[in-house]
Symmetry: C2
Subunit: 422 residues, 2 copies
């Protein structure tokens, strides 16, 4: 067991056996990682539902065998992929065959398919016609983001199966909106959840999952009607609470009672998004001086739309000469204390603030490895400096003896959190 | 269909039905993405083998049902996870039960388990004892990187199944070495591949998969004994060739005949690794001036161990004022031509070269979106500048109208490729 653990929760919802069937040879040939399973897991978890089994098969006839088995076991089967116009795309045909339903052209689906091409000034190929085929009596699920409409076959539409079947497109930009608009309401109806539980995602940084096990966990477990789970990433732990609004309020109070100051967001926003949001709200600008993180902090900040309003200058002073020349760090101090030191971190932050004229500056200097460590300063050591217009530069040390990628991520997390606290 | 397509290949190897069974509730609860399926797909592809089906089930009894079904269909079943010491970890027990084999303590496994703890100065818990349990007659697969030994049950060890079963640990740092050391030789023996095919991975940038379909593809398909496939990423396409050394030579000549100048590496090395390698070999240093990529280029370069030898200065001049102050770009030119222009890209590269004293400097300035585009310069436009000690700065335009993340990646790829060509 690792990653998200289901830590507790009510057992009063009758369990619904849900299976996911992902189709696509590319998922089994090694270069497309199947992110659908995890995505469905997360979305179903929010509804209080679980995946009982997930299967991946190549395009083509293997779908028939897998689908025939799944509808025997499952209450709900969600199939992705194989709804396109090519000869490989035969999910509709196989579904109709397995369920013993005739395939007919759905007029509404055909019209919206034609409209998709007209709007884009393109001519529809004959191959696309089959995308309007639907098993008799099934619902067509509109796809505003692509050519492949989805399909919903309700349970007991025929004599063969009491399993509800959803056919959904593979590409996430088509799948995700269709799931929320068309699948979620039907799953709620099927599962009999009348007042769906709400989800609260509390994102923390600076503490680990084990900190929750020292008390908070036991107290959350005692709240009737609260379901909760943890998800630990590098430098971050997410606590998900599921229940009625009243129950969530009780759970949140317990979690924040001990850990308020480690809370990043209550709405799933990333640490970098929160930093940009806070700086925007207070009309302050940010400068970043990086050594060991090598540009990752600036990269994360600039992943946030709107970051250009608050982030002005980044300096990747990887070489010592760059720290001296660009940021004005004392060459003597580098000589005497080393580039990875409190003094150099402070001077980097102060230099970034001075050169940029920003309101806040953060700096990092550390040893990413694999080389460069010593007994006194082992690989994984980093100093983080912070300076503002109103306060002198100060620095603190962190230690993350991890591989190079994880080290960069962990240190960038600590640095962004230092900015958040400012 | 997307991602890697199997474009052609010999059909003379008898197909072996291989299934993967991944166990672990965390894979179905939404926050751990199952990367095993793609990894096995890639590794088996190199052996000329394919995955026929991949299944994920939660920890516990669901493993029994899935395994019972798989051994009926498959020639080889590879199971991951559930070999740990906790009460959730019951893969060994279920395997013995399903195959009708008695579980006994393997003395060698027990000794190596004890040694694992002694070396680390830790005391072994009683719970770990069950990790030495093995079905009678099965092979124990040593695990130098963890406590869980693997298990190999040969086909026809019992009356029930002709399926070969591998039980492997879940964590990649334990799984990957065990797969290469213990599973690959046994798979080769099982599949009857006496002289295993070699794999050549040619990585290209600056061209797309469709370029290969204009001729190269048809000529590759004509080579007897050559199996090949493409894998397209953002700004990159990988061509994998599988066959004997002689056949690979023929295939490589065809691919490089048209596309030599787009070749990044023949050994799977990433573009950034090749850039670092080339600069190291020629003892030159690099400076990077980024606007729209926001630090990503520096981040990618500094992901490469040893990059500190060649990369000295990075400048993330996100604000126009930063371009003027830090890199000496003319404020008038920004006013007249816009920040996203040939002139500004050239001045950024020249400025980075001058300030850093590096041998080569690359710059990027563009419009990542979602805001900031215009009819003349739509979102997705970027200029890439390059300057060296011996040549004046020059710039070229690229256009990648994608979402913010993909735009940054595509532009960083074009910029790194410009450095590679220098």
């Amino acid at each position: 067991m690792m990653g998200l653990e289901l830590a507790g929760g009510p057992q009063d919802i009758p369990p619904m056996h849900i299976e996911i069937l992902n189709t696509g040879s590319e998922l089994l040939l090694g270069n497309t990682i199947n992110t659908h399973a995890a995505w469905f897991g997360r979305e179903l978890f929010k509804l209080g539902l679980r995946i009982a089994r997930q299967t991946t098969v190549p395009d083509g006839d293997a779908i028939r065998e897998a689908m025939t088995e799944s509808i025997e076991r499952a209450d709900v089967l969600i199939v992705t992929g194989g709804l396109g116009p090519t000869s490989d795309d035969i999910t509709r045909e196989i579904t109709a065959e397995v369920l013993g339903l005739e395939l007919i052209t759905d007029e509404a689906a055909l019209r919206s398919l034609e409209a998709f091409f007209v709007i884009r000034g393109r001519t529809m190929a004959d191959a696309n016609l089959k995308q309007a085929l639907t098993p008799v009596g099934a619902d067509v699920l509109p796809n505003p983001n692509g050519t492949a409409p989805g399909v919903y076959v309700p349970p007991r539409l025929n004599g063969r199966s009491s399993c509800a079947v959803f056919l959904l497109p593979g590409p996430p930009r088509e799948l995700y909106p269709m799931f929320h608009a068309e699948v979620v309401p039907r799953l709620r109806a099927l599962s009999g959840i009348e007042t769906p539980a709400q989800v609260l995602e509390l994102k923390f940084t600076g503490i680990g999952e084990s900190d929750f096990h020292q008390g908070v966990d036991a107290r959350l477990a005692e709240i009737p009607g609260l379901e909760y789970g943890y998800c630990a990433h590098i430098g971050e732990v997410d606590l998900r609470l599921i229940g009625t609004p009243e129950v969530l309020e009780v759970g949140k109070k317990i979690a924040l009672g001990d850990f308020q100051k480690f809370l990043v967001s209550e709405d799933g926003a990333s640490l970098e998004a929160v930093v940009v949001r806070n700086l925007t709200a207070t009309r302050r600008t940010l400068a970043i001086a990086e050594s060991c993180t090598g540009g990752l902090i600036a990269h994360r900040i600039t992943n946030v739309p709107g970051s250009s309003e608050v982030f002005t200058h980044g300096f990747v002073t990887y070489a010592n000469a760059a720290k001296v020349k660009v940021l004005g760090v004392s060459a003597n101090d580098i000589e005497n204390h080393g580039a990875v030191s409190e003094s150099v971190a402070c001077q980097m932050a102060a230099g970034a603030l001075r050169v940029s004229g920003a309101d806040v500056a953060v700096s990092v200097t550390g040893i990413a490895g694999p080389g460069g460590g010593s007994a006194e300063k082992p690989v994984g050591t980093a100093w983080i400096g912070i300076a503002t217009k109103n306060t002198a530069a100060r620095a603190f040390k962190v230690f993350h003896p991890r591989n190079r990628d994880d080290f960069k991520l962990a240190v960038s997390q600590a640095a962004l959190d230092a900015v958040r606290r400012e």
